[in-house]
């Protein structure tokens, strides 16, 4: 591992300025749980590390309709926040599934998103909760839907000098339920083979008003299964509808074969996991158990 220079700016503007001056050689570091691993593998060789640790970006603010997570909020902070667990159970579940406790204590939501792995656990629930990301540079600040943030494999919409400042998650309203499922090769400390987050909002007659399905590890980025989502709108909740929608989610996914799994297996698992994730939502909404075996 090469030994880069190191700075710990006290303001975001300062951090952004240093980053902007050296777009190829400077890297931001927060929890370091991805970056240091990449440095060790020689995949990334920064000249200078810009540590965000002194920036006041580590709070969870709960407002009436919106929760604002500073980009340095850790997975552990999300898990331990009663509010987050109650309002965003799929996000809490995803955070709990990241690595091990030590990873979660240091890894940040902002870092998870900026790393832009297609397997990013927190990205999937954040997508189904219609999250927006606030990114800032020394000069300006802009907000974009998280759905627009992932551009390609490990590439984000961040422009040179921009830093994720805040993650804004609207408080879900109405009859809504969400779930998260991660399939891995062992029961802990693992990277997803395929993962799914889902959220359903229904009207008074339990017809689907809004459907959100996000898939991980089946495309170059975390993705939404848009065609499947559209299919669900207006439908009643049933095992049959869920099965049909789950099969549809495969379209639009492009899983690869790698050391963890084959593309064929991943393709099969998409439908299985989506079905289960939707069934969990349905169970929560109807308070009846669903035999998700079919």
């Amino acid at each position: 591992m090469n030994r880069p220079a190191y700075v710990a700016p006290t303001t975001l503007e300062e951090a952004s300025a240093i980053l902007g001056e050296n777009p190829t050689g400077a890297r931001l570091i927060a929890g370091g749980t991805d970056l240091i691993v990449q440095m060790r593998a020689g995949v990334v060789q920064p000249d200078v590390l810009i540590d965000l640790r002194l920036l006041p970006l580590d709070t969870i603010s709960v407002e009436k309709d919106l929760v604002r997570l500073g980009s340095r909020v850790t997975h552990t902070q999300v898990i331990e926040s009663k509010v987050m667990r109650e309002m965003f159970p799929a996000l809490a579940a995803a955070c709990e599934a990241v690595g091990g406790p030590a990873t979660r204590n240091r890894g940040t939501i902002g870092g998870n998103l900026a790393n832009a792995s297609p397997a990013a656990d927190s990205a999937l629930p954040l997508l189904v909760y219609d999250t927006s990301v606030v990114v800032a540079s020394a000069a300006s600040e802009r907000t974009m839907p998280l759905a627009d943030f992932f551009v390609d494999y490990r590439q984000t919409a961040l422009k040179p000098g921009e830093i994720i400042k805040e993650i804004r998650v609207p408080v879900p309203s109405g009859k809504t339920a969400s779930s998260f499922i991660k399939l891995g090769k062992r029961q802990a400390l693992m990277i997803a083979v395929v993962s799914v987050a889902a959220r359903l909002t229904v009207d008074e007659s339990y017809k689907v008003r809004e459907a959100r399905i996000a898939l991980g590890s089946v495309a170059p980025t975390p993705i939404r299964a848009s065609s499947a989502e559209k299919m669900m709108v207006g439908e009643g909740l049933s095992v049959e509808v869920i099965a049909e929608v789950a099969n549809e989610t495969v379209n639009g996914a492009s899983p690869i074969t790698d050391a963890r799994a084959s593309a064929e297996y991943r393709t099969k698992m998409i439908a299985v996991l989506v079905r289960r994730a939707l069934a969990k939502c349905m169970e929560q909404l109807t308070e009846k158990s669903v035999d998700d075996g079919n």
């Binding site: 591992m1 030994r3 880069p4 220079a5 190191y6 710990a8 570091i29 929890g31 370091g32 749980t33 240091i36 691993v37 060790r40 590390l49 540590d51 640790r53 552990t76 690595g99 091990g100 406790p101 030590a102 990873t103 204590n105 240091r106 802990a188 400390l189």
Partner: protein, 161 residues
Amino acid sequence: MTETELRFTVNGTPRLIAVEPGKTLLAVLREDLGLTSVKEGCGQGDCGSCIVVMDGLAVNSCLVLAAQADGSEVVTLEGLAVNGQLHPLQHHFAEEWAFQCGYCTPGMIMSCYALLMHNPKPEAQDVEQAIEGNLCRCTDYHNIIKAVLAAADEVNARVAE
């Protein structure tokens, strides 16, 4: 390579050392401070052998840069015994054969130490979660869980007295 000042507390003792900021906390603890209980098993946060408690949280010291530890409080296994008296975790790990080769043990105990700081009355499930990032190749973890539960009982009994 310009060195930076690292000012932090280790096992209750304030320390001020000059380090390359990019050196890992693992390397600083082992090499600069001689705290060799902190082990390197993989160097990339996949085994838990290097876990120490930093500001009350279990962290993989191989994934913390020295400069990031500035101003923090770090506890390693060497800091658990008080005046030669073993912490209940240490005592029960020995009693319950919660280790065989012992290499994963320091990181394992520190994960459990962090657990007890936050949850003084853990159940087996809680211990499992606390150590799910600690690999052990010699045991099947059962004795570790037993040891932690016994240690928690002892700590609570002491507190109750």
